[in-house]
Amino acid sequence: MSAVLADMPETVAPATSKAIAPSKGGRPWTFYVLATLFGLYVIALYGPMFCIYILSFQDIRGGLVFPMKGHSLHWFVDLFTQVRTGDVKGSFDRSIKLAVIVTVITVVVSFLAGLGFRKRFRGDTFVFYMMIGSLVAPGLVLGLGTGLLFQALGLNASWYSSALGAQLSWTLPFGVLVMFAVMSRFDHVWEEAAYDLGASRWQSIRLVMIPVLAPGLVAVALFGFTLSYDEFARSLQTAGSLNTLPLEIWSMTLNVTSPSLYALGTVTTIVSFIVIGASLGSIVLIQKKRGSQAKG
């Protein structure tokens, strides 16, 4: 999705390229077959999610399956007031804070790494494969290793130290991969022009690269925030005594059999949708502003 977000400048401009061959007149039969497949895929993708959003609005008689039993906000109130469901409020708080920290670090570190990988340097392949390794390694195993490491060093595992690092080992590879896609569309002529006009390296980064790459950096931030906010496997052994939200959800799936589980799902998805909407919205806004400036 990264490359597509980065592609948007070209595509917001009048689309010149057309779909292949059957551009004259009617659609081939394959269109209808594939359109049906696509429709079914989207329904299967969103359908179940919407089921639990709907079911979370039942009243006190509500169960885990349809049909709906009344409608109320009972389970949302229950979620934030009941003690037996655990510390939802506290974990929600921690998850947001952690996600913000992870986002900031991910954007800065990925941006710098993206700059570094533009030119070959001795050992770059090693760093690249280390990053790929960090991406594909089983999260639970890495989490356990981090937990044992902290234990061996006599440090306390907590969400802002060991879990932060464990999550970064997951968000940074994604961030750098997105930066690759973004950078490959960056025209080096602009940077050279800045140097020719006497800009320092820092000035060219601050005044040329960051503004030009802004939409890509927003995409990196989107990945950083959402991947951290939903991260589970790597946090399990590293978060210490205080849970993050996904860990709280995990323990609820094992012992809560009321719609408050669904209510929590609805709440966390609303947060995700707000973040996604804000990110995509600001990318589109930046592109639009740019488009109108270019025309004006």
Partner: protein, 296 residues
């Protein structure tokens, strides 16, 4: 990402700059990816008192135990079964969804919009998306209700939820996006003129698919495969929740081992799994240079 001419002239300076830019990345990956892996590797050779205490030393006892256990083979077979099934379904769905978006949707802005529609759930919680199948697949779920109402079945189907079927459904639901994105990317790079030329030369729709689209999407398929295989093989919570405890995979057994503080056996099994994973990923990497692919 071509080696620039300046790096040939001043290799040491460009090496230094490159390392400076990637140093923050390395400073995160070394303590939170390399070190944890080494800790797990070390722990696999340690002896244990059975209560979580580790005695530094060198013994292959854990490996002997893991390799001699009949359970290990069963776990690997189960994991491979889930991996292959998930890979086949995500590949088929992912390939045709990407194909539809690239070659059948004529309006580019619409294609981007539909693509984002597919990617939005990726940025929401995996656990929530997984439990959202409960109201559908459960014994009193929507699917059973519908089938009973239509008179297709007279007893509710019990194999829908808490079964291997449910595990595969949850995997395909979560991971198809990892196929769609890279395949979409490589398909979008296919020059449409190539396909027009093929049509002019008398190629059939099937020929185009077989001789142009599939070969040129190979790198996307390879990347998607790496994601899907490594995630399924490293997963434990989908297996644990969706099978209702009835099935286990290598990592879910690892999770149980950690739960009862059997660190060395867990570590030995993790090391073996990592070796298998590295072997699979490097086999895939032999068919495609992903670094070139990603940074191009």
């Amino acid at each position: 990402m071509q080696p620039s001419s300046s790096s040939a002239q001043a290799p040491s300076r460009s090496n230094l700059a490159g390392w400076l830019y990637v140093s923050p990345l390395v400073l995160v990956l070394v303590p939170f990816f390399v070190a944890p892996i080494l800790v797990v590797l070390a722990a696999s050779f340690f002896a244990t008192d059975g209560f979580g205490g580790l005695t530094p030393g060198f013994t292959l006892a854990s490996y002997v135990e893991v390799l001699h256990s009949a359970l290990t083979l069963k776990l690997y077979l189960a994991t491979i079964k889930f991996t292959v099934l998930t890979w086949v379904f995500t590949l088929i769905i992912g390939f045709f969804v990407a194909y539809f978006l690239v070659f059948h949707v004529r309006n580019q802005l619409l294609a981007i919009g539909l693509f984002l529609l597919c990617t939005v759930p990726f940025w929401t919680s995996n656990i929530i998306r997984m439990i959202s199948w409960i109201p559908l697949l459960g014994k009193e779920g929507l699917i059973n209700q519908a089938l009973l109402a239509m008179g297709v079945i007279h007893q509710p189907l019990e194999v829908l939820l808490f079964s291997d079927l449910a595990v595969v459904i949850a995997y395909v639901h979560q991971l198809t996006i990892f196929m769609i994105v890279p395949i979409f990317n490589s398909m979008a790079r296919i020059d449409k003129k190539l396909i027009e030329a093929a049509i002019d030369a008398g190629a059939s729709r099937f020929d185009i698919m077989r001789l142009i689209v599939v070969p040129m999407s190979k790198s996307g398929i390879a990347l998607g495969t790496i994601f899907v295989v490594s995630i399924v093989m490293g997963d434990f919570f989908v297996v644990k929740v969706m099978s209702g405890g009835g099935s286990a995979s290598v990592v879910s057994a690892f999770y149980e081992d950690v739960g009862v503080l059997q660190y060395p056996t867990a570590a030995a099994s993790a090391v073996l799994l990592t070796l298998v994973l590295v072997a699979i990923v490097s086999l895939i990497l032999r068919t495609v240079d992903i670094r070139q692919e990603i940074t191009r």
